[in-house]
């Protein structure tokens, strides 16, 4: 049995990395739930955002608080462009998976060509700073990432819940033609949402660059985890995405501490299978 403080520490670590999963899941959950487009390329975009942050920080000397807004704005435009292509060709839910899967491969291949498959690490002065509470270490950057994830999830939830835009989007997800007949500008709103989802990927990428080691193949390891988070949190539910992320993050950290780190990739999958077996109506 591991020491109690080890379990406490892994709970903290899991909670914080769960925030990052939630942040990654947020964009996917929104576009899947409200636009009926399954964006497998979301993870690739997040990793691209991370590499861009790393590249601008280490090679061009642009600090993350300057490069961040630039990348976020650029990704917002990319999201709009992607949605334009989807609308232009009348892409279905299933086709969107194929196209964004291919986009993920293109991004992964480009990263590998530009920056090789070597591990990359963005060393910053704050990267190794932690608060120490009793026997627990709380890394500052991970905590910041968690807080940003929580803030984004909560504000997206409030936006969907309390504003006209949010209600209109949910109406469109239920039945787009009817909503349009009631005068909801579905096209405009869906462009906005698609842009936002891509911007969320950029935010996630920014923090991934700051707290994690980068490698192009990370895209594929995330897909399984984050897709499980989205399902557990329910489609189109921002707070659910955060809660699902925390659940998976904590379970993974406990597995790493108590069993073996190399089995962590199986955790999210097992939770998902349990959900499908015992609570199929959750879906």
């Amino acid at each position: 049995m591991p020491h109690l403080s080890l379990i406490e520490q892994s709970l903290v670590t899991g909670l914080l990395s769960g925030g990052l999963y939630g942040l990654l899941a947020l964009g996917l959950s929104m576009s899947w739930g409200l636009l009926r487009l399954v964006n497998i390329g979301h993870f690739a975009m997040a990793l691209l955002g991370a590499y861009l942050t790393w590249f601008m920080g280490t090679q061009l000397g642009i600090a993350p608080w300057l490069s961040g807004p630039i990348i976020i704005a650029a990704f917002f435009l990319y999201g709009i462009a992607l949605h334009w292509v989807f609308m232009r060709f009348g892409v279905t839910e299933m086709q969107s998976m194929l196209i964004t899967f291919a986009l993920a491969v293109i991004v992964e291949a480009s990263i590998q060509t530009l920056w090789t498959a070597d591990f990359r690490r963005f060393e910053t002065p704050w990267g190794r700073q932690s608060w120490i509470a009793g026997s627990l270490y709380v890394p500052k950057l991970n905590l910041l990432a968690f807080l940003v994830a929580a803030l984004l999830a909560a504000s997206t939830w409030a936006w969907l819940r309390y504003t006209y835009v949010g209600r209109a989007l949910r109406a469109c997800a239920e039945d787009a033609p009817i909503a349009t007949a009631f005068g909801i500008n579905h096209r405009g709103l869906s462009f906005l949402l698609s842009g936002l989802c891509a911007a969320y990927a950029a935010v996630a990428g920014l923090f991934i660059a700051l707290v994690a080691t980068l490698a192009p193949s990370e895209i594929w390891t995330w897909i399984g985890v984050v897709f499980a988070v989205v399902i557990i949190g329910r489609l189109g539910n921002p707070l659910g995405a955060l809660a699902g992320g925390i659940l998976i993050g904590v379970c993974e950290a406990l597995t790493m501490a108590m069993v073996n780190p190399s089995w962590a990739p199986l955790v999210s999958f097992s939770v998902l299978i349990a959900l499908l077996l015992f609570r199929p109506r959750w879906i």
Binding site: Q95, I99, S262, L272, I283
Partner: protein, 588 residues
């Protein structure tokens, strides 16, 4: 069989090609070309296996690397570590991969929503989960598996000859399986699932079983092919086995070739493999991968049907004698379902709902409906919007499961049966908004109902379909696609599909809405004719003129409960009914 000159010529050509491919290893062709041809066979089998599930039924698998990799490691472990003779490891590789595929399918195919999306994402996850398990356990342990010392029987004097021949056998087998499925009942069912799975189930397609069958075949082929591949590379690693290209290439090849045709993937695989390996320019693997991914996007957006349809068109132009004839087969009047000495009309109930309850979350759609439907009657089912009429139809046809109560058909309870079983017993329905299978011709739409609902064989079914198309006045449109016909015709197509199942009970959901007066009169006559043949009819309708003209009895639903039942005159005078329809003031 019609052996015209062209056909003989084509058969001779095909035979010559087969013989040529078989004897290739016996010739002096340099090993490089033999290895290249093996890779073509490899991708043909992978792409074809992908198509059997994903192309035909529309469930896109991103997990072919998992099934393939399971085969690679099953064969590798058995042959290199346990000393099993190599050829015996291949069936094991197929079986283990098929078991994995069936397991994933069983988990996801039961869901009511998001089946397709979840299946796709589950298969991606499975790929990386299987890779993790294999590299964390002694199966691989991170060191890879060497098969270099595994003895392989030598054909044509070398191991390469054996690998080549195995590759050829599995490619031929994969294409043969795809062809057989394509031409079978199961193929028709899979195509229907592709277009509208719920409607397919209601028309009598055992959707769950067919999907499991398709994924078992698909993953089994990929597993066997993986087994052969393990000996081809002779050293397997997790990193190279579960590569993203193994996921992506079969998808690109199938869609580019044409994923709705048994031969499409083979054509796509051949073209793309030649393009990829035929010009070794020493390009970086990452660039090639990115290029293929870009190709996938372009194909999905610009050529979603693949090159197969245009190839078929030129084929028809070049060799019209070989193309299937497009003339209507002679109509066959189907014998009615054997009704064991039951009179065409009687007071005996053929269908009984007893205290039927159904709720959706907080909404109680049916609150204890009890209703007997008599043999051979026309029962009008009316009620305001949201009164539970459609729910009752969905409950009777097995689309919804009940919360409480029983539905009895012909003396036996049917409420625990799935929709396709109910359909086979002889209960058919039409949809208010027509739901034809959009990629099947009008003729095939009707024929599939005869096959799955009426239990006819394929050949009979097409001739019966001609009969029903004549009956509903659609014979002219037999070879059109559903998108090409107008709403009125689509309504009649719904009716023809329902009739082709030779139902004992026919449920018609607002067949008249959207039709003009002349068309309505035509439809009313048709419905009376159908009843005259011994079919009991329940029809949901808002148009009171039709209800009064047609019904023997009228049942009125309101708020999920039956409030009146009787002759049209009786029910129309009923105070509560008038209340519901016209408001309280008129009732007094």
């Amino acid at each position: 069989m019609d052996l015209s000159g062209n056909r003989v010529l084509a058969l001779i050509g095909l035979g010559a090609l087969a013989v040529g491919l078989v004897v290739v290893p016996a010739t002096n062709i340099p090993p490089y070309y033999i290895a290249f041809l093996y890779l073509v066979f490899f991708w043909i089998s992978m792409a074809t296996s992908w198509t059997i599930l994903s192309g035909f039924a529309g469930y896109w698998s991103f997990g072919h690397a998992a099934f393939f990799g399971t085969g690679v490691y099953t064969a590798g472990t058995l042959a290199a570590k346990l000393g099993v003779p190599f050829l015996l490891t291949l069936p094991a590789a197929a079986a283990v991969a098929a078991a994995l595929g069936t397991g994933v399918g069983w988990l996801v195919f039961r869901l009511k929503r998001l089946r397709g999306e979840l299946f796709a994402l589950m298969t991606i996850s499975v790929t990386f989960v299987v890779a993790t398990i294999i590299s964390n356990t002694p199966l691989d342990g991170g060191a890879g598996v060497y098969l270099i010392s595994v003895p392989v029987p030598e054909l044509f004097g070398s191991q390469n000859g054996t690998i080549y021949t195995l590759g050829l056998i599995f490619a031929a087998l994969a294409v043969a399986i795809a062809y057989t499925v394509y031409r079978s009942r199961m193929g028709l069912g899979l195509f229907a699932i592709h277009d509208d799975e719920d409607a397919a189930e209601v028309k009598g397609v055992p959707t769950f079983r067919y999907k499991l069958g398709a994924i078992a075949l698909s993953s089994g082929i990929a597993g066997a092919v993986g087994g052969v591949y393990s000996i081809y590379v002779s050293y397997v690693t997790v990193g190279e086995t579960f590569e993203v290209t193994v996921i992506m290439y079969p998808v690109v090849m199938s869609i580019f070739g044409g994923a709705r045709h048994w031969l499409g993937p083979a054509i796509g695989a051949t073209i793309i493999t030649v393009a990829l390996y035929g010009f070794p320019v020493g390009a970086q693997a990452a660039l090639v991968r990115g290029g293929v991914a870009l190709g996938l996007i372009l194909v999905v957006l610009l050529l979603p049907e693949g090159v197969m349809p245009s190839l078929q068109r030129s084929w028809r132009r070049l060799a019209p004698a070989l193309a299937p004839a497009r003339s209507l087969p002679a109509a066959l009047v189907p014998s009615p379902r054997s009704i064991e000495s039951v009179a065409i009309r009687s007071l005996a109930p053929v269908l009984q709902c007893r205290d039927v309850w159904k709720g959706f979350g907080g909404v109680q759609a049916l609150k204890g409906v009890t209703l007997d439907v008599r043999q051979g009657e026309i029962l009008g089912l009316v009620g305001p919007n949201g009164s539970g009429k459609s729910t009752l139809i969905n409950v009777v046809t097995g689309h919804f499961t009940l919360d409480r109560g029983t539905v009895v058909f012909n003396g036996a309870p049917i409420n625990d049966l799935s929709a396709h079983q109910v359909a086979r017993l002889g209960i058919a329905r039409s949809y208010q908004i027509p739901r034809p299978f959009n990629h099947l011709s009008v003729l095939d739409n009707v024929a599939m109902a005869a096959v799955f609902g009426g239990g006819s064989s394929g050949r009979e079914a097409r001739r019966e379909a001609v009969h029903w198309l004549r009956y509903t006045g659609l014979a002219e449109r037999a070879f059109d696609m559903p998108r090409q016909i107008n709403l009125h015709e689509r309504k009649f197509l719904e009716l023809a599909r329902a009739l082709a199942a030779r139902p004992r009970v026919l449920l018609l959901d607002e067949v008249l809405s959207g039709l003009n007066n002349a068309e309505i009169d035509e439809a009313l006559k048709l419905i009376r004719d159908i009843r005259a043949g011994g079919t009991t009819i329940i029809f949901v309708e808002h148009l009171m003129r039709a209800v009064v003209a047609l019904s023997d009895r009228v049942a009125v639903l309101n708020g999920g409960a039956l409030i009146a039942l009787g002759t049209p005159e009786e029910t129309m005078r009923d105070k509560e009914v008038v209340n519901v329809y016209l408001g309280k003031a008129h009732a007094s």
